[in-house]
């Protein structure tokens, strides 16, 4: 059997060192890289295609979940974090395990064994679907978004919500039009409708959510449709219902 390729991602050097030390006597595991932040990690994971990643959740600018969100071929993940507020979300992301800092070597080995079993069985993360109730619970408890993270090649693009012009539904995806350009996300319109700050973002159409700060004018288009002109020059449609909502906030 070939060695297990592993990457350690943590913004604290001592935390990375600990994982490295714990892995010291595991001859079947090879640490191929250590990363200090999500930006670095995305690049390295894409280039090296590891089997397993030890991932810290709280890191500057892009957290562990956001990194995972933009990865295409997801390796097995063991989250390492100081706080248990993310346990549920980690579970939903189908992580192998969730290690609360500080953790013992025994506990660490246990997680590693679980990871090895999963890799051998090749039960990729996609085969197991999270429970629906769990997802529902998460959608309700998860805090409001302050940024959206997208990927462009091996670069992570962080889009603060105040720089988003509007969102457009495209089949199973959502296209985010922002100051940073256009980016596709594998999420639903409903998710964004409930997670973007509601004082700024309004669902104006089945296909569109607009940021009020970027609307320059509204004109009548057809009998039941209005045309909303955005400050970046794009024109999007507002349904009867959506127009009512717009009038509600502007009056």
């Amino acid at each position: 059997m070939s060695k297990l390729k592993t990457i350690i991602v943590d913004d604290e050097a001592l935390a990375r060192e600990l994982v490295r030390n714990y892995l010291g006597d595991c001859t079947d595991v090879e640490i191929i890289a250590e990363c200090q932040n999500g930006f670095e990690a995305l690049k390295v994971i894409q280039e090296t295609n590891p089997d397993l990643v030890f991932l810290d959740i709280q890191m500057p600018k892009v957290d562990g979940f956001e990194l995972l969100d933009v990865l295409e071929n997801k390796p097995e993940i063991i989250f390492t974090t100081a706080y248990d507020q993310y346990a549920l979300k980690a579970f939903e992301q189908n992580a192998v395990d969730y290690l609360l800092k500080p953790f013992s070597k025994d506990r660490f080995k246990q997680a590693l064994t679980k990871a090895k079993e999963r890799i051998e069985k090749k039960t990729g993360p996609d085969q197991q679907k999270p429970l629906e109730t769990l997802q529902l619970h998460l959608d309700n408890t998860e805090k409001q978004l302050s940024r959206v993270v997208a990927r462009l090649g091996s670069k992570i693009i962080v889009i603060p919500v105040e720089k988003i012009y509007y969102l457009e539904a495209q089949d199973d995806y959502v296209m985010i039009h922002s100051e940073m350009g256009r980016h596709l996300k594998e999420k639903t319109m409903k998710y964004y409708e409930s997670h973007l700050p509601e004082e700024n973002f309004i669902r104006i159409h089945r296909k569109y959510i607009a940021n009020l700060s970027f609307i320059s004018s509204i004109e009548l288009y057809e009998k039941s449709t209005h045309l909303v002109l955005m400050k970046n020059g794009d024109k999007i449609r507002a349904s009867q219902e959506g127009y009512k909502r717009l009038r509600g906030v502007f009056s």
Binding site: E12, L18, N21, N37, P60, A82
Partner: protein, 351 residues
């Protein structure tokens, strides 16, 4: 006198009300029924003040019955019975008292006999008016109490919320520090021990500080330094500390733990949310009127979420304002890539 009036305001108003009623009563008898002034006066006095005295008991019966939740019928029944009893006692007492005092006046005795129906009717009217007023006063008081309680609840909630916000950084800091120590024990046990001691000393201090305690700047700075030392070990080369402290300020008294949230804020934005090098500057200088403390940190303005800023700072500002009764003691200066908070401690608290 005014304080006395405020305290017994209800009682004064009650007496005043009955004096007015008694005066009207007197004039009605004196000019309307042409009864002699002396007899009219005695009549008015005895009937009204007997009722006034009996009426005070009514207040307590209403207060008491409000404590038990009763149905409308029960309340109605209660008032019919108490009303009837009160009326009978009132009439018996008044008639016998008047009978004793005005025996000689035949014209008046005759009027007294004939006026029973009118007395009963006016008694019912008084009773009705009195309980209406009582119920109004009682429900008004209840409403005020409710508003007061609600206001109290809101402030309590707000404080709990602030506590929660404050405690969000702490567990993070604590467990990450413990993890760093755990890592150090494997390779550099001496450094691990040093960090355990620093962490313990810092935690002991912050747990012991509560309410409005004051400490010397020196003592506060010592514990801030412990905190920063720990963070420096966690983030190795990433965090640089630069301090410039005027020795003259060290013995000034400042509110305990007032600097800690500011430093935590600087670490959060300068270190936790930045990828590159960060520098925290701490400057203290004394001018004739104030002790000035300036804390600044560099940060990466692009793509940072503005969430979570403000509450902690506002809290410090509010605390300073209530302690020193002076506004503007906390100033925030955002210079694009450097964030600076300065606080001023007025001179009169110096020991």
């Amino acid at each position: 006198m005014i304080a006395l009036f405020n305290k017994f305001r209800m009682q004064f108003l009650y007496i005043l009300m009955w004096i007015v009623v008694a005066l009207i009563h007197f004039f009605v008898l004196y000019s309307g029924y042409e009864i002699e002034a002396g007899a009219a006066f005695a009549d008015s006095m005895i009937f009204n003040f007997t009722f006034a005295i009996l009426g005070t008991g009514l207040w307590f019966s209403i207060k008491f019955s409000q404590l038990q939740r009763k149905s409308v019928f029960e309340v109605l029944f209660q008032h019919l019975t108490t009303g009837a009893i009160l009326l009978i006692i009132w009439l018996l007492v008044s008639y016998s008292l008047l009978g004793l005092t005005t025996k000689t006046d035949e014209l008046y005795s005759d009027f007294l006999q004939r006026s029973l129906t009118m007395r009963v009717l006016s008694g019912i009217l008084y009773y009705g008016l009195l309980i209406t007023i009582y119920y109004l006063v009682a429900s008004f008081r209840e409403l005020q109490e409710k508003i007061r309680k609600e206001a109290q609840l809101t402030t309590m909630l707000k404080e709990a919320e602030l506590d929660m916000l404050r405690s969000q950084i702490r567990p993070h800091f604590l467990f990450n520090s413990l993890n760093a120590i755990s890592s150090l024990t494997m390779t550099r046990p001496e450094q691990a021990q040093e960090m355990v001691i620093k962490l313990s000393e810092f935690m002991r201090y912050s747990l012991s500080q509560q309410g409005e305690m004051i400490n010397t700047l020196e003592k506060e700075l010592y514990h801030i330094r412990l905190y920063l030392d720990i963070e420096q070990v966690r983030f190795s080369g990433k965090l640089k500390i630069n301090q410039e402290i005027d020795e003259k300020g060290l013995q000034w008294m400042i509110p305990s733990m007032i600097l800690q949230p500011l430093i935590e804020n600087a670490v959060k934005h300068g270190v936790y949310d930045s990828e590159g090098q960060s520098e925290i500057k701490l400057m203290v200088f004394v001018d004739p009127n104030y002790l000035n403390i300036i804390i600044s940190n560099n940060f990466e303005p692009e793509n940072t979420s503005r969430k979570g800023t403000g509450t902690g700072l506002r809290n410090v500002g509010r605390r300073l304002e209530t302690i020193y009764n002076e506004s503007g003691l906390l100033q925030v200066n955002n210079k694009g890539s450097e964030f600076e908070v300065s606080i001023k401690i007025p001179a009169n608290v110096k020991t």
